[in-house]
């Protein structure tokens, strides 16, 4: 029920006295009204701004937060007020809703912030008053479109290839996003070039060339160099056909592809050539054939794959279909009216060009669009008057729908600009996100070491905990518990990929004593991070303190050699390197190095096994033994 209705309830109940003389039965007992009649003032503190209102005001809408008993959860006994840690500016609007019964949408606020506030206070957005509803809906739709586009842009364009894609899928991706591989880019530019060549050839064909020897009249170039043009045309059509067939083959849904606009344009572009091949050189048919050649100009529309501006224009026209329809309709009406008037005005004059009403259509169109060719002019005074009215109204009628179309185009164009900018900034954003993630992982790893250190040496642990908030402590403890549960360890991306290299390397070059489950390992490890590994390896060589290149098992030895000095140094230098990513893809691999929580030998030096794979394990055990208490990760030498 609406706001004020609650206040009129006593009145309605009083008015019921008027029914009593007519009542045949006794009235039921009225409900007992427990609430005190005297109204009280409530204090609502929203982030420091104190609002005061009557209790009755808030009780008007019992299905919202403030009107129900839910607000008791926010009651602060010490200060005798309701405290909400929300935006006081927004709360003003919410409270006004209770007071006036109408919810207004403040135009300068972000639509999402407003929605969130409404959701918090339990108010349904549908009750926004009519004065603000349109604005609210427009903004909301705009926002949703923008978000949908953003997610689309995030997913679509530069997403890395899914690991197991068939050639067909890869081909389709190459066609849709030419930037993914060099081959696709080359193909893209080649087709673009041939489209241009084809269009220019079509145009130049008709230019008159100097006549060949013996003739006087100018010939169009197309007939003079017929063979050359034919060859060029053939080449272009071959390329286009090839492209079309490839696209058809690669398309995930062939029916959908065949119905799409671009494929229709492709077909229309190449069809005339084939029809021309098939058709005989017949006089009757060649007229139709000539018409078909006109369709070759549609090849220029193939450029819309290459040019985004064209696509935007096409999309704008499609979205403004109703405005265009209105423009067309109103113009048609005006044309008919004025043509009729002009015809009858000029009917009497001798030699008038206004021979019929359809003939006057031409005059009206030319006049309304202010072209004024001058091939038809009115001679009578009445005709001139109506002609001038016609041209004035033409300007008006055309000027009306044009701004709508323009604003639509502007909106779509800006949206596209934004999408492009977002895509361009994508890499930067992804890098930033990766850094942030690495930061948290590093923090966690640091925490583990600090804890281990702290377990042994309580003095230094105090130093390490200084920069952590209570939340971080709890968070890291939680992650640690998860590690214990699953018996795997966290590490960051780089170490993971490196480990894949070293793992694959180690297993390939290791001899007998390596893992029984090794047979699948090399393939798996290359499989788990193939491309990234190669790339990362190249990148990381420069950065890593201890360089691990492919196939250099010897360096592991040197690693080992450096590994012996005291714990802090080794740990810091090897930290980036040797924190194992134990969930590196496949089970076999990880099973090999997974911890079996039996404590290793106490002194690091004694327990060095000879084999290369185990060297790595030994090093690990080395550091681990110093870093962890028994019961922690242990490398089993298999």
């Amino acid at each position: 029920m609406a706001a004020g209705v609650a206040t009129w309830l006593p009145f309605a109940r009083a008015a019921a006295v008027g029914w009593l003389p007519l009542a045949k039965k006794t009235m039921p007992k009225p409900p007992v009204d427990n609430s005190s009649r005297s109204d009280e003032i409530l204090y609502v503190n929203v982030s420091g701004v104190r609002f005061q209102t009557w209790k009755n005001t808030l009780d008007r809408y019992p299905d919202t937060l403030l009107g129900s008993s839910e607000k008791e959860f926010f009651y602060n006994d010490d200060t005798q007020e309701y405290f909400f840690d929300r935006d006081p500016e927004m709360f003003r609007h919410i409270l006004n809703f209770y007071r006036t019964g109408k919810l207004h949408y403040p135009r300068h606020e972000c639509i999402q912030a407003f929605d969130e506030e409404l959701a918090f206070y339990g108010i349904v957005p549908e009750i926004i008053g009519d004065c603000c509803m349109e604005e609210y809906r427009d903004r909301k739709k705009e926002n949703q479109e923008r978000l949908a586009e953003d997610t689309e842009a995030n997913e679509a364009m530069d997403a890395p290839l899914p690991p197991h894609s068939t050639p067909r899928e890869r081909l389709w991706r190459a066609f849709e996003n030419p930037h993914t591989s060099t081959m696709a880019l080359v193909f893209y530019y080649v087709t673009g070039f041939f489209i241009a060549v084809s269009v220019i050839a079509n145009v130049v064909e008709t230019v008159p060339c100097r006549p060949p020897k013996g003739k006087v009249k100018d010939l169009p170039c197309g007939e003079k160099y017929q063979l050359a043009f034919f060859c060029m045309d053939t080449a272009c059509v071959l390329i286009f056909t090839f492209e079309y067939l490839m696209r058809l083959f690669a398309a995930p849904s062939r029916c959908k592809f065949m119905r799409s606009v671009m494929s229709v344009i492709d077909v229309v572009a190449i069809m005339p050539y084939y029809i021309g091949l098939v058709m005989p050189e017949n006089e009757d048919v060649s007229g139709a054939f000539v018409t078909l050649r006109v369709f070759r100009v549609f090849r220029i529309f193939k450029f819309s794959r290459h040019s985004q501006g064209l696509r935007i224009l096409g999309y704008t026209l499609k979205s403004c279909a109703s405005e265009l329809g209105f423009l067309l309709f109103s113009l048609t009406m005006a044309i008919i009216i004025f043509a009729t008037v002009m015809f009858y005005a000029e009917k009497g004059t001798k030699g008038s060009t206004f021979t019929s009403i359809p003939a006057s259509f031409w005059y009206t169109i030319v006049t309304m669009t202010t072209l004024g060719y001058g091939d038809m002019v009115p001679n009578t005074i009445a005709g001139k008057i109506f002609g001038s009215i016609c041209s004035l109204s033409g300007v008006l009628v055309i000027a009306l729908p044009v701004p709508v179309i323009v604003s639509n185009f502007s909106r779509i164009y800006h949206q596209n600009q934004r999408a492009d900018k977002m895509r361009a900034q994508q890499k930067v954003r992804m890098a930033r996100i990766r850094m942030a993630k690495k930061g948290t992982t590093n923090a966690f790893l640091q925490y583990k070491e600090d804890r281990a250190l702290g377990d042994r040496d309580s003095d230094s642990s105090a130093l390490c905990v200084r920069n952590k908030s209570a939340f971080e402590h709890q968070h890291h403890h939680l992650l640690h518990c998860l590690e214990k549960t699953t018996n795997h360890e966290f590490t960051d991306e780089l170490n993971y990929s490196e480990l894949c290299i070293t793992g694959s390397v180690g297993f390939r070059t290791s001899r007998s004593t390596s893992l029984s489950s090794q047979q699948g390992a090399p393939n798996h490890s290359t499989g788990c991070c193939p491309r990234r590994v190669r790339r990362r390896a190249a990148m990381r060589l420069a950065n890593s303190t201890v360089s691990v290149s492919r196939g250099s098992v010897q360096e592991l030895d040197t690693l080992h050699g450096k590994g012996t000095p005291g714990p802090p140094q080794t740990r810091s230098s090897l930290n980036a390197q040797i924190n194992l990513k134990l969930n590196c893809g496949e089970q076999d691999f990880s099973a090999a190095i997974i911890s079996i929580p039996t404590p290793p030998a106490n002194t690091p030096d004694e327990s060095l096994p000879p084999s290369p794979a185990a060297i790595q394990g030994g090093i690990l055990r080395n550091t681990r033994a110093t870093a962890y208490t028994p019961g922690a990760v242990k490398i089993s030498s298999l």
Binding site: G4, P21, L22
Partner: protein
């Protein structure tokens, strides 16, 4: 003939005026000016103490009532449309605009008239009963006076008020037509969906029963005295009246 010439002259004058306004480009403005004038009517009630002495409410109750009243009608007066709108919201089956949506599908089959339930007629009579000064609007004083009688008044006052409600043309007598109107208005508030279904002659029967009870001297009209006496004799009604004490 004379009327014709005056009307022609008036029409010509108006035409000249509108042409003038067209030329000076101020055609639209006058309409808005007129509209602005109409909405700036405002009315303030009498002082709180005065109202307190004139009615049976205490100060706090008057304050609460006025705050609600002012919130709904910032201009200080309720006109009939607003009144009907407010009253219609209490009766979901009443009110044309609400019911219109509900029985749209039935409109096609049954026709609009049969399914419209309407609190507006009864609201109209109520409005007239509250509007003691008969100027088409209820001010706060009228409102509070009426409420005071209905909620805190003596039995006699309540019965008098009810009599005035039923007496549509305020001539001091309730005749059959008036009673039928009232009863029909009340039944209209029920709407179409009742159990048992409303038949056409039920209001009439109700009116007959009423007159049977009230009209002592069988002269076809009910006077105030007859009404009061008959009601006081009616046990059911007295009991119901008790229940409606302290509704506020």
């Amino acid at each position: 003939m004379a009327g014709c010439t005056t009307r022609c002259r008036q029409g010509v004058l108006k035409l000249i005026q509108s042409v003038q306004r067209l030329l000076s480009g101020s055609l639209a403005k006058d309409n808005t000016d007129d509209e602005l004038e109409m909405t700036t009517v405002c009315h303030r009630p009498e002082a709180l103490e005065q109202l307190e002495s004139q009615t049976n409410f205490c100060k706090q109750e008057l304050q609460i009532l006025y705050r609600g009243f002012k919130n709904e009608c910032p201009s200080g007066v309720v006109n009939e449309e607003t009144f009907k709108h407010i009253y219609a919201q209490f009766f979901p089956h009443g009110g044309k605009f609400l019911h219109h949506h509900m029985c749209f599908s039935e409109q096609i089959s049954h026709g609009f008239v049969s399914c419209v339930a309407d609190a507006s007629m009864y609201a109209h009579y109520l409005f007239n009963a509250f509007d003691t000064t008969n100027n088409g609007s209820i001010k706060f004083k009228d409102f509070v006076t009426g409420l005071s009688i209905l909620l805190r008044g003596t039995l006699r006052e309540k019965l008098e008020w009810t009599f005035h409600l039923y007496d549509i043309n305020k001539d001091g007598y309730i005749n059959r037509e008036e009673m039928t109107e009232i009863v029909k208005a009340i039944y209209d508030m029920m709407g179409k969906y009742t159990h048992p279904a409303l038949k056409g002659d039920v209001p009439q029967q109700h009116v007959d029963a009423f007159f049977q009870k009230m009209d002592k001297n069988k002269d076809g009209v009910v006077t105030l005295e007859e009404f009061v006496i008959a009601c006081q004799e009616d046990e059911i009604m007295m009991r119901s009246m008790q229940l409606f004490e302290n509704v506020m």
